[in-house]
């Protein structure tokens, strides 16, 4: 009997369980028919169902259209109601973990400025959407720069039901922008530094140039002084020789002449006296020549043309070399007295060089002038010299050549030398002419 009661209880229990299972199955079927489920599970196979809900389809359509971007939906309480696989990947979470949680559990916002957040909320409230950039700090602490587009979601009745955010990770772009900005800043800095350096170098160069110019000027002034005092000294010595030594030598010569006259009718050998007379005459001539060579009075009194004419005649006679002097268009006023002296000395040095080195038998001197320039050309038909010799002369040997050039520089002019072995030498001396007014 007891066994029967137990059996009955067992049967009743089994019946109740079965009934419950049937109810569950019916409930499930009703839910499936009612479109309340998304998936059916048979064994371990899962069959997802298409929802008949049009709004859901539209929602999914929007999501699918942007499936490569992170998509997150929240409700009005900021609970996450949807996130797509891209979001799961970006925030390293599973949807089932996140759904229903507050958004700030998924990530925290960091805004460029506190006001940016209010501006974003205002924009959503007033225009229904916002687009902008901020920083998301993930659950693992990592932060990413994102660009988000947030739009309002509305339910069937048109009430705002939440927000839909489409989010793009722009960290790489930001890093590239930062790197570019950094590179740009660096470049700017380097340009500024380089500009300062160049400016400093320029100032240093200008200083050096001005120092050099000052030194050049000093040197020219010094040279001018040297040359001037040299000319003064020569003039003084020349005058002394001429006035004192020359007078005395002439006196000796005249005295010898009167002795010769007194002893003319005596029967004495005349040879020693004749020799003495010749020596005295020669001495007289030499002294005059020396004085004249040092500083011809004609240069001061009669000018360059007269001085050069006298010099070439004397020089030609002295060295037995033919010399021809021609002028063309030159008048005294074309050169200052100082410049005349320089031209004269250059000519003198040139002819001395011819006498010493050229082995020439003909020299031509041309002095010509136009309104701008005075030119003197001295050419000989001597042995000449080649470029190397010329260079050597220039380098060390010939102080004469250097002196010629320095004198030319002092009057703002130049000296050029042309020569080839066997074809003689030509020297060109050029200097600016003194401007002469037409009514002078």
């Amino acid at each position: 009997m007891n066994a029967n009661v137990d059996d009955l209880n067992t049967l009743q229990n089994e019946n109740a369980l079965l009934r419950a299972r049937v109810e569950e199955a019916e409930e499930t079927l009703r839910a499936i028919r009612g479109g309340e489920v998304d998936a059916l599970l048979i064994g371990d196979q899962v069959y997802t169902l298409e929802s008949a809900d049009a709004a859901s389809n539209r929602f999914r359509g929007e999501v699918l259209a942007q499936i490569n971007e992170v998509v997150i939906a929240i409700d009005n309480e900021e609970r996450v109601t949807y996130l797509n696989p891209a979001a799961e990947q970006q925030y390293q979470v599973a949807a089932s973990e996140v759904l229903g949680h507050k958004l700030d559990e998924l990530y925290e916002h960091q805004w460029p400025e506190p006001s940016s957040e209010y501006a974003a909320r205002d924009s959503i409230r007033q225009q229904g959407s916002w687009r902008g950039e901020n920083i998301h700090i993930k659950r693992n602490g990592e932060s990413i720069h994102v660009e988000s587009t947030v739009t309002e979601l509305r339910d069937r009745s048109g009430e705002v039901s939440g927000l839909l955010a489409v989010i793009r990770d722009i960290s790489e772009r930001k890093a590239a922008e930062d790197a570019l900005r950094q590179a740009h800043d660096n470049l700017e800095t380097r340009v500024v530094e380089r500009t300062i350096e160049l400016s400093d170098a320029n100032i240093a160069l200008l200083n050096e140039m001005s120092e050099r110019a000052a030194a050049e000027k000093q040197r020219a002034e010094l040279l001018q002084k040297v040359v001037t005092s040299q000319e003064d000294e020569r003039r003084r010595i020349a005058r002394d020789i001429h006035d004192q030594l020359g007078q005395r030598v002439t006196g000796i010569r005249l005295q010898i002449a009167s002795i010769c006259d007194l002893l003319a009718h005596e029967d004495l050998p005349s040879e020693p006296l004749d020799n003495l007379m010749k020596t005295a005459e020669q001495l007289d001539t030499d002294v005059s020549f020396l004085a004249w060579e040092l500083r011809p009075a004609s240069l001061d009194d009669l000018g360059l043309v007269q001085a050069v004419t006298e010099f070439t005649n004397e020089w030609s006679h002295h060295y037995k070399i033919e010399a021809e002097f021609i002028t063309r268009g030159f008048i005294r006023e074309k050169l200052t007295t100082g410049a005349e002296t320089h031209f004269y000395r250059i000519m003198q040095e040139a002819l001395n060089n011819v006498a010493k080195h050229a082995n020439a038998d003909q020299v031509n001197i041309l002095l010509e002038a136009n309104s701008e320039q005075v030119t003197m050309i001295i050419e000989d038909n001597g042995v000449g010299f080649d470029r190397d010799a010329q260079k050597m002369l220039k380098d060390k040997k010939s102080l004469g050549l250097l002196g010629m050039k320095e004198r030319a520089i002092l009057i703002g002019g130049s000296v050029e030398i042309e020569s080839t072995p066997g074809s003689g030498t030509t020297i060109y001396v050029r200097a600016p002419a003194v401007a002469i007014s037409s009514h002078a």
Binding site: E24, A25, E27, T28, A31, I32, G34, E36, V37, D38, A39, L40, L41, I42, G43, D44, Q45, V46, T48, S51, D53, S56, F59, R60, D75, E77, R79, V80, T81, Y82, L83, N84, A94, A95, S96, E97, L99, G100, H101, E105, R139, N140, G141, E142
Partner: protein, 108 residues
């Protein structure tokens, strides 16, 4: 890097064992009703069962074997393991009053 823990789901405080709710929610990924179900269940738990519930959300697309173990036929399905009797709810749980009644929660 330290990953911040999720705040709830295992929110069992000093409550007695009798009042403890052990819930499993089976969902199919982020399909609309599944997503709604997760949101709605979490909301109800936080609002009405704070400090005394243990919620496990199971994605049947990722863990189909767990669905088979639980003898679940459709997703979303919420299973109340404790307090007894065990009970199942099917759908997106959007009708909160029915869910509360089914869970035996008196709304004061």
């Amino acid at each position: 890097m330290t990953v911040k823990p999720w705040p709830d789901d295992n929110d069992i405080g000093a409550s007695s064992l009798d009042e403890r709710y052990v819930l499993r929610l089976y969902v199919a990924g982020t399909t609309p009703r599944s997503a709604s179900a997760v949101v709605n269940v979490r909301k109800v738990c936080e609002e009405h069962l704070a400090g005394k519930y243990d919620l496990e959300v199971i994605d049947v697309l990722r863990n189909p074997e767990k669905a088979a173990e639980g003898q679940v036929l459709a997703a979303p399905t919420l299973v109340k393991h404790l307090p007894l009797p065990m009970k199942r709810f099917i759908g997106d749980m959007s009708r909160t009053d029915r869910l509360l009644a089914g869970l035996g929660i008196r709304v004061t």
